[in-house]
Amino acid sequence: MKRLYLLLSGVFAVLILLPLLLDKYVIGIFVMIFYYAYLGQAWNVLTGYTGHISLGHALYVGIGAYISTYLAQQLNLTPWVGMILGGIVAVLVASCIGFLGFRFGLRGVYFVILTIAFAEIARLVVCHIKPLGGFAGIFLDFRPSFYNLQFRGNVPYYYISLGLMAGSVLFVRLLEVSRMGRLMIAVREDEEAAQALGVDSFKYSMLAMGISAFMTALGGTFFANYVYYISPNTVLSMGLSIELILRPIIGGLGTALGPVLGSFILTPLSEISRSYFAKGGLEGLHLILYGVLAVLVVLFMRRGILLYLRRALAPVLRLEP
């Protein structure tokens, strides 16, 4: 285990120094890697650790993006505070969904449908709210300053997103060995068996839902202030909900590093192939690559690439089984 921590510290140190060497375009790719790793991690807290599958996490991205942006425009409130408020609203919404799902025993596909329904309703409602820009969305005023969470160049975004990702990995690692994390895992493995051992599965499911929604909403605020444009069909879309679950699934669900590994594989693949193939008139080919990769992982590395690698590298890194 020690060697693994050493290795990770080394990687982290390299990532801190990396912007000195890279050009703007590549730094931008890294921002996306970190951002999607972070969102994947947030989703992983719910689905990887308690087993409840949400296919509507774009809802929380949207809540974070819209609330901080709206408050910044109307009241000149700093997005640093706006993101916390967005996070709180996301927790409230997630609690409603969680309450309906967990209290009334909606499991499996029925819970999935519930999460999709809420996200899609939110998208359609926002499409018709004029002060939020409706279909057209909101262009953020570009006023670079720390207070506005807006910066010239990609480097500050690089460090913020790196911080989000690293913080989320650390958090999930601490969670999974904690009392709460272990009880969440018991719920994931077998909810009734956990209840029989005195685990309040409702409570731990709700906690996971809240933490996950809060983290996701912070990501939404970051994204809005990185691209300066939000609309229902980007930050509240079904496509985003799917995009953000692919990385933990391919990297390794229910592991602290899975979403990161998944993002380091998928995000560059998507960014590079998108620009490369688009030149050759083959737009959308990256989606096929996604599909092929997902099929290969499901077929040959059932529990994600990370656990596959972990088994292969266990002797080198001296890991416990």
Binding site: R182, L183, E189, E192, A193, A196, V199, P321
Partner: protein, 243 residues
């Protein structure tokens, strides 16, 4: 003194009566067996006692506390824990971590819970496997794990649902020793069992049910000779052919 009192418990599934007016009590420190042919309603009784199914009527009391309308984890907290007939290990975590889930119920500190879990793992004879994933255990060891998880919650009443089914005679004998040891710690045991070797070796009293109703109650050696019990298992014709 009674550890558990069941009073005219009834449970219907639509038009089907699974349990009908069943009453019994489990004494403090006793081992009581609940037997009956397949479909007699034994597991339904367990599900009603532990809050996994709501009762239609009747009452269940643990000590002097009514368990009606309590949820499964609350009942476990009050000191009654069950195992499942089809064992339900947490497959993707280690044997020790499985037992730790139970141990954390009474220990807020993780370190102390782990020490307790390790103790229980050793006690049921799974010490060698404590770091193995539960998924690699074969059935006889999974049955022990099921028992270990339950004991780790430090219950006053332990409900065992066919822990001996599918084991060979040697394994059954080992499990009998284990359950006896658990009982000697002061835990009252209610056993659902088909393996008569286990029932006779362990229980002070036996209750036989059929179609959700009690048909006989008594000491194990009386119960196996009871005509109503033999009829329930083997049919009236068999009984008549025996004269």
């Amino acid at each position: 003194m009674n550890a558990l009192v069941v009073e005219s418990l009834s449970k219907n599934f639509g038009g089907l009566t699974a349990v009908q007016g069943l009453s019994f009590e489990l004494h403090e420190r006793e081992i009581l067996s609940l037997i009956g042919p397949n479909g007699a309603g034994k597991t339904t009784v367990f599900n009603c006692l532990t809050g996994f199914l709501p009762l239609d009527s009747g009452d269940v009391r643990l000590g002097d506390r009514s368990l009606k309308r309590l949820r499964p984890h609350e009942i476990c907290r009050l000191g009654m824990v069950r195992t499942f007939q089809i064992v339900r290990p947490f497959l993707n975590i280690s044997v020790l971590d499985n037992v730790l889930v139970g141990a954390m119920l009474r220990e807020r500190s993780l370190a102390r819970a782990r020490a307790k879990a390790l103790e229980v793992v050793e006690f049921v004879g799974l010490g060698r496997f404590s770091n193995a994933l539960a998924a690699v255990l074969p059935l006889p060891l999974r049955k022990r794990l099921e028992l270990a998880k339950a004991i780790a919650t430090r219950p006053r009443v332990l409900l065992l649902d066919e822990v001996m089914a599918g084991l060979n005679p040697t394994e059954v004998d080992e499990l009998i020793q284990l359950i006896r040891a658990v009982n000697q710690e002061g835990i009252s045991v209610l056993l659902i069992e088909h393996v008569m070797r286990g029932v006779i070796a362990l229980s002070q009293r036996v209750i036989a049910i059929n179609y959700g109703q009690k048909i006989a109650e008594g000491r194990p050696e009386e119960i196996v000779k009871n005509p109503a019990v033999i009829e329930a298992y083997l049919g009236r014709e068999f009984l008549e052919s025996q004269g």
